[in-house]
Amino acid sequence: MTEAAKPSPKSFDWAQFVRSQLRNIAPLITLIALFVFFSLASKSFLTLDNFVNILAQVSLTSIIAVGLTFVILTGEIDLSVAAVANAIGIVMAFFTLQPDYANIQNVPVPGLVAVVFALAACGALGLITAFGVTRIGIPSFIMTLAMMQIAAGVSAMLVRGQIAYSFPMIIQTLGSGKFMGLRWLIVVAVVTLLIAHLVLTYTRFGRYIYMTGGNRDAAEYSGVNVKFIIGSVMVISAMLSGFSGMLGVAYFGSAQQNQFDTFLLDAIAAVVVGGTSLFGGRGGIGNTIIGLLVLGVLNNGLDHVNIDSFLKILIRGLILLIALIVNVYAQKMRDSSATTE
């Protein structure tokens, strides 16, 4: 009903553009700044080898971050990702024949069966989370906190403080093998990111994820089964976390408790630093890729400039804090620019 005949602005409004795109621009600038800084600060940083290194280092995180992106886009959160990754890596090891010195009482089955069991296990954990959040109505923040503890418990029960070293062949290949000189892990991560991007951008399921995060009532009124969408992303998140855990233990060459602890913060940081809104509905895989690279460059770069490793932790915390501020600020800017029209 509003006429299109409004006079168009004389010149391109840069301030307006920057404000509306803050969540996409800020992470990119951060990435470039970090990249330039480390390139200047260290001779060893700017090499192709090191770049491939960075990719390998973020590959495991990126698979977890994909699932987390889905969850955060719906406006929910999953704090159990790292614990689930750990548990599923251990579940897979539990079903794999271990060397004698591993001293784990387990149930060896053929490799592919172990993989199927592990996938079924993460599916089950995801379904429990989905059930708690959508059927019982427990906030995802609390439900996944409980799941984090449950998954940690599963890990502890299965290995009892021991370490497992053997994993099914196919996982061994994907987790630590190479394909034409390139780590399979990187290939798997890139394929996962690509598929996730296609799903989010071009399928109804992806659109419903954005709708659920954007306006839950509107999604419901349009006949979208919001609970199904939220349940699905919870299962997807658990599945991808578990998958990453399986590849991870192969990558590390061992499976033990508390092995993935840093992955929770890393994955959340990657999604949030990338600019996907904590309130849901905005962002996507593109943002998560930038976030992953920011994290990867930061972690890797700090190693190259010989910084006190304790300071490193603090710096990461500060970067995350700044990203959170930008994230919330971007949302506020959007809200106020939408209402001052």
Partner: protein, 249 residues
């Protein structure tokens, strides 16, 4: 003639609140029924029962004489009942086309959404309705209140509704846009679509509606022909909850 829609003894409670209390109402083909009442009278709740947002606690809904079960908004849409919600129910993080097809996206082979086809259809519908938007691909968050209302109206019209529910469709509109909606309501009514129009503006609704139903505290005060009453009498119905002295239908 059998009415297009008949609501019989609809009851809907929220906890202890009787939001809709034993309301019976009918709507004929091509009829514009104005639904009036105070804030909190139960108007939105009543139409949400018909729209399938939540099922009634008790009561029956008949479409063209046939009892139907409306358990979800999909059920309602399948029956040709389209709704413009008071809150518009748009997803601000998506563009106009996405909002127009919200929940009913067109897909091509492999299940991918067919963005081009949707955009073309959206353009057609907006054109047919003479509703103009600056750009179909800008996010709804950047649209004005009136433009958003245009998207919500286009969405309701696009899928060939038989029954159109409009919950305060002109609340965010200026006088000129309000006139356009009025013309649209008249046009759709000529096409035989039954329209339930909720508004707080008695003048507007007097011009548009052929019949008026008034609710108060969840109950139906009564329904009258617009031709038979004055605006003051309708105001009395809204405020005092009393039917006019002269007997009308």
């Amino acid at each position: 003639m059998t009415p297009l829609v008949e609501l019989r003894n609809i009851v809907k409670t929220f906890g202890g609140v009787h939001a809709v209390d034993d309301v019976s109402l009918s709507l004929a083909e091509g009829e514009v029924l104005g639904l009036l009442g105070h804030n909190g009278a139960g108007k939105s709740t009543l139409i949400k029962v018909l729209a399938g947002v939540f099922p009634a606690d008790s009561g029956t809904i008949l479409i063209q004489g046939q009892p139907v079960s409306i358990r979800s908004t999909r059920d309602a849409k399948t029956l040709g009942i389209e709704t413009i919600y008071q809150t518009l129910a748009l997803s601000e993080n998506l563009d106009s086309v996405a909002n127009l097809f919200l929940g009913r996206e067109m897909t091509g082979p492999l299940g991918f959404m067919n963005e081009e086809a949707m955009e073309e259809q959206a353009r057609k519908t907006l054109g047919r309705l003479k509703l103009h938007l600056p750009s179909l691909s800008s996010l709804v968050q950047s649209l004005s209140g009136g433009q958003r209302q245009a998207v919500a109206i286009a969405r309701a019209i696009h899928f060939n509704a038989r029954v159109l529910i409009m919950d305060e469709p002109t609340a965010a509109l200026g006088p000129e846009e309000t006139l356009k909606v009025a013309a649209l309501v008249a046009e759709l009514s000529r096409q035989g679509i039954g329209i339930i129009l909720i508004s707080h503006d008695i003048h507007d609704i007097f011009d548009l509606a052929s019949r008026l139903a008034v609710m108060k505290n969840g109950r139906l005060v009564g329904a009258v022909s617009t031709a038979d009453v004055t605006q003051d009498e309708v105001l009395a119905m809204i405020i005092a909850g009393k039917m006019p002295e002269r007997p009308n239908s």
